[in-house]
Symmetry: C2
Subunit: 340 residues, 2 copies
Amino acid sequence: MMKVKVAINGYGTIGKRVADAVSLQDDMEVVGVTKTRPDFEAKLGAKRYPLYVAKPENVELFERAGIEIQGTIEDLLPKADIVVDCSPNKVGAENKAKYYEKAGIKAIFQGGEKKDVAEVSFNALANYDEAVGKSYVRVVSCNTTGLTRLIYMLKTNFSIGRIRATMLRRVVDPKEDKKGLVNGIMPDPVAIPSHHGPDVKTVLPDVDIVTTAFKLPTTLMHVHSLCVEMREAVKAEDVVSALSEEPRIMLISAEDGFTSTAKVIEFARELRLRYDLYENIVWRESIGVDGNDLFVTQAVHQEAIVVPENIDAIRAMFELAEKEESIRKTNESLGIGKVF
Amino acid sequence: MMKVKVAINGYGTIGKRVADAVSLQDDMEVVGVTKTRPDFEAKLGAKRYPLYVAKPENVELFERAGIEIQGTIEDLLPKADIVVDCSPNKVGAENKAKYYEKAGIKAIFQGGEKKDVAEVSFNALANYDEAVGKSYVRVVSCNTTGLTRLIYMLKTNFSIGRIRATMLRRVVDPKEDKKGLVNGIMPDPVAIPSHHGPDVKTVLPDVDIVTTAFKLPTTLMHVHSLCVEMREAVKAEDVVSALSEEPRIMLISAEDGFTSTAKVIEFARELRLRYDLYENIVWRESIGVDGNDLFVTQAVHQEAIVVPENIDAIRAMFELAEKEESIRKTNESLGIGKVF
């Protein structure tokens, strides 16, 4: 079997996870990863994968640090069939213009890029087929991925109306030690809507959703508080039952001691390297109905949730598998659906 | 002019603020405050007010600490016309049975008590008249006070339908050093509804409201994200205009640098002792309309917002003034409405 050759541009929070996930697939392989600076992540990356320098002008920094490199991004791209861009927000679009178009290579971008960087904004459950054969695909952000999966399951199983969601955002990732918010609540943005609602519509255009968002002094996970107007009578147990069908949604119970995101992460530390949670984490008891409104609370591990989506996007773009087959393979390789 | 003699049972977070506010009124006076334990707050209290011991069995502790006391709660109550109970949640109801009923004294309870502790749950704007002449009144909690004021202004000025609110709660007050939540988001409760919606209905029974609530790693203020269905077309500027009329609602602008509750409190530290904010703090730019939905974000200083309500409750219970006159006097004495 020919394997799709994958380059990862940016071996950071998302890139290192995507690289490991690609390595676990039987139909793709990592031909190289890039780093901008020679830090500890570059040193770890060089031990695991052929390492290239993302900014050609920084080659000397790597040589001085004694890190073995195979060349620069310009040497890497000709060896790959596709590049997964995992560089910081907005840099992906610059890389597209500077490198990917010239190299004539397919590319996946992350949710920090504007939607017009790609032909399609992607979520495996919601619109796998739209990415089939495409050259440029954008995997939506962690929060949008979490919202999209949940809303897709609800709209597939029930008739839904307006969605109002409050996004409770971790302020920075755990490794961050220069930015943050120690004590306070930050409306971000102050004016409605937050970008999350419109971003969901890049994948599910016919959904009526308004979101507000707040940055909070925590690093572990985002939390979403959703209120979904139902156009038909629905029981909480029917929603629990529908969500239980989807492996990328993990139902947890407060009765098991899951009192907060801190407990969810303590649980994840027992499960997987880097305590990665690829699943939407939905509190079973939070699923409740009041009048026509369905309420749901879920947590999203911002560092990990998009990883399986990147893998499925690669399969769609190279027509390696149909939607269900790709998702099944990805889930199996990452241990999704096997937890409880 | 005869002054109403006020005893404060529990010179803690709320009690010390209520005592100082009572002292500023021309129609009431503090005849004594109580403390359970001889800590620094007791020492400060004894310098400012006649101090009594809340638990008679603890008299010896105060004597050993060298704090001058005037007796116990049982000595204080006969000197007062009313007691404002500011003891911890649920202790107010115990005090009522143990002391207040026997002493035949009027009493105000705080929002941590169940509603049936009193004849009426109170908010000055919303239902001042219902407390007139009553013996037992419960001033609703900080979050309920904030919600009730805002909703009262909206329902008085517009035709409103269902309200969905997400309560972003500070986990503990700033002085707390034994409990907390350092890194995480805690749905509290996990199942809908949080108690805030039903608690608003103790004051405004005909309001349709559902609330969800989360505890967050911050001490400064609560934040409420409201979505209010409007039964008539409304413009954001009309809502801004209506809220501007009410002194107990302070409109702030993100343009002035109010990016988070941390900035709001930094501003308050320039204004008042203990940086007390008695007002609902509403971000002007958060007031927005999407379809039939009105969105508003406000912050609530949990330590201070109920203080003016306690003063107005005293006036209502003794028929010292009509609603508008009481609110005007309270506002003037506390500097409410004079900030911008």
